[in-house]
């Protein structure tokens, strides 16, 4: 897992500046809304540029939904065996 650390300073009004390298890597623009997650003594900012739920709404519109998990795994296995034959 890639792990990079950046040292930033808290300015007046508790403002912080996102380092240029991160801004460019994640295409963060002025006006973007970011979410701060606080968990077990650490703060993280997951990059969410789009509503993750709306992003997948109807992406497989009209596809059958009644398939059971076991059947899906079985069919995947059948396909794999068939290809290897």
């Amino acid at each position: 897992m890639e792990l990079n650390k950046y040292k930033i300073k808290v300015l007046s009004g508790y403002r912080i500046t996102i380092p240029k390298e991160i801004r460019e890597k994640f295409n963060i623009k002025v006006g973007d809304e970011l979410e701060i997650v606080v968990e077990s003594g650490r703060i993280s900012i997951p990059i969410i540029k789009e509503d993750p739920v709306m992003m997948i709404a109807g992406i497989a519109e009209g596809a059958p939904t009644e398939t059971r998990g076991d059947e899906l795994f079985l069919e995947e296995l059948k396909r794999k065996i068939k290809i290897e034959d």
């Binding site: 979410e35 997650v37 993280s44 997951p46 969410i48 509503d51 993750p52 739920v53 709306m54 992003m55 997948i56 709404a57 109807g58 992406i59 497989a60 519109e61 009209g62 596809a63 059958p64 939904t65 398939t67 059971r68 998990g69 076991d70 899906l72 795994f73 069919e75 995947e76």
Partner: protein
Amino acid sequence: MKTRFVDAPIFIKWMAAKKKKLSLEAAISGYILTKIMKGEKAITTTLVKDEVLIWLSRYKASALHKFIHSLRALVYLEIIPPTLSDQEEACSNYGKYQLGISDLINLAVMRRKNISEIYTTDKGYSSAGINIIFHELSKEPNFKTFIKKLKNKGFKPNFPI
């Protein structure tokens, strides 16, 4: 609030939602995922994730990246890998409940994590004493707000609100 388990149909029904004829089940599924996005802690397994991936690869493989990206952004959803002990327990329970082997593995994970409630449309889980949470969510006040948001995005519900 109790942590709940998220089953594959929740993702599947939301991704298969019809814009011009949105079903109540699809809307509730989207509502559940929105609750999690907004901070409700929930868990699922890598098995559920893979089940949904296989389903999506069959019907809309070009959207696989979007699904994974969405999962990554759902930071309050913990995705747990089942252990061999979970699978052992599932094997011991095979035939006891109205559940297939993958559901039994999920059940073992739920029991290991002391989870007694599940977001699903699969009635089989109730045979194992798990409380299914689904249709009652449409009575929550925030559900109406969610439907309003969907309408603004062009969805047309085919159920009374």
